[in-house]
């Protein structure tokens, strides 16, 4: 709002109209949630079924494609879903545009950085660099 703007709040809203975006974000959140329903259940079930959770067992499990592929998907989709969800929280409570942009950028960097780190560690195990 510029200095000297005499329009009412309602008038400004009418002038802006709808955001014309956001539908894709909403839908992505739902689609990734369905994927995580499967992948999250897979992770918990795997942790319960594995005979032990020592290093040797875990490396063996994640070295096989049956462990590595769902884990890779879980990392990618999990971080994406977390990022989308946290953005909703930030947008709900942080209205000042500068702070909102800063927090959302921080979240994006954390999600991409964390996801990259987890994927790289998994790749080392899956491709037999370790274990």
């Amino acid at each position: 709002m510029s200095v000297g703007d005499s329009s009412t709040p309602l008038g400004r809203v009418r002038g802006l109209g709808s955001a014309r975006e956001g539908g894709e974000h909403w839908l992505t959140e739902r689609v990734t949630s369905i994927a995580l329903l499967l992948l999250g259940t897979w992770l918990v079930a795997s942790l319960l079924i594995l005979p032990k959770l020592d290093l040797r067992t875990v490396l063996e499990w994640l070295h096989a494609p049956s462990g590595a592929v769902p884990m890779a998907l879980l990392i990618i989709i999990g971080f994406k879903h977390a990022l989308d969800g946290m953005k909703v929280v930030v947008d709900d409570y942080v209205h000042e545009p500068g702070n909102n942009f800063a927090l959302n950028t921080l979240l994006l960097f954390l999600a991409v950085g964390g996801g990259g780190l987890a994927l790289f560690a998994l790749a080392r195990i899956a491709f037999g660099v370790v274990g």
């Binding site: 005979p51 290093l55 977390a82 560690a121």
Partner: protein
């Protein structure tokens, strides 16, 4: 915007009588935040520790089997199941179903009961196997 300060605000958390539906809605957001921050941090640490070798994995195991570590893990287990069940509830409600007060309240109560039961069951299995 001086004009907006005197405008009435829609009532927020403090004015409503607490019920299961409201609690579950808030729990969905809280558990989502917890899983995003703590859950993904633990997952990433676990994978990087496994990729780094026995010493790093030992450190991870030691921290996670300490009393505080176990509280975090049990908390994450509960957060996972609560978010999963209330997430299913939200997916159902996205279709326009289950908005009648009775059924809405029942589903809300069921997500809480279900998450507590599945958390207890998971840790019963984990402890029973003695991992």
């Amino acid at each position: 915007m001086a004009a907006t300060k005197t405008r009435p605000l829609s009532p927020h958390l403090t004015i409503w009588r607490w019920g299961p539906h409201m609690a579950v809605s808030i729990l969905h957001r809280v558990t989502g935040g917890g899983l995003s921050v703590v859950g993904l941090a633990v997952l990433t640490w676990w994978l990087t520790a496994a990729a780094a070798g026995p010493a790093a994995y030992m450190t991870f195991t030691k921290v996670m089997t300490s009393p505080i570590g176990l509280i975090v893990l049990v908390g994450l287990t509960w957060a996972f199941f609560q978010h999963l069940l209330s997430g299913i509830r939200h997916l159902a409600m996205d279709t326009g179903a289950a908005f009648d007060l009775g059924i809405n309240k029942l589903f809300a109560v069921l997500t809480i009961a279900g998450s507590l039961f599945l958390t207890a069951l998971s840790w019963y299995i984990l402890m029973g196997v003695g991992k």
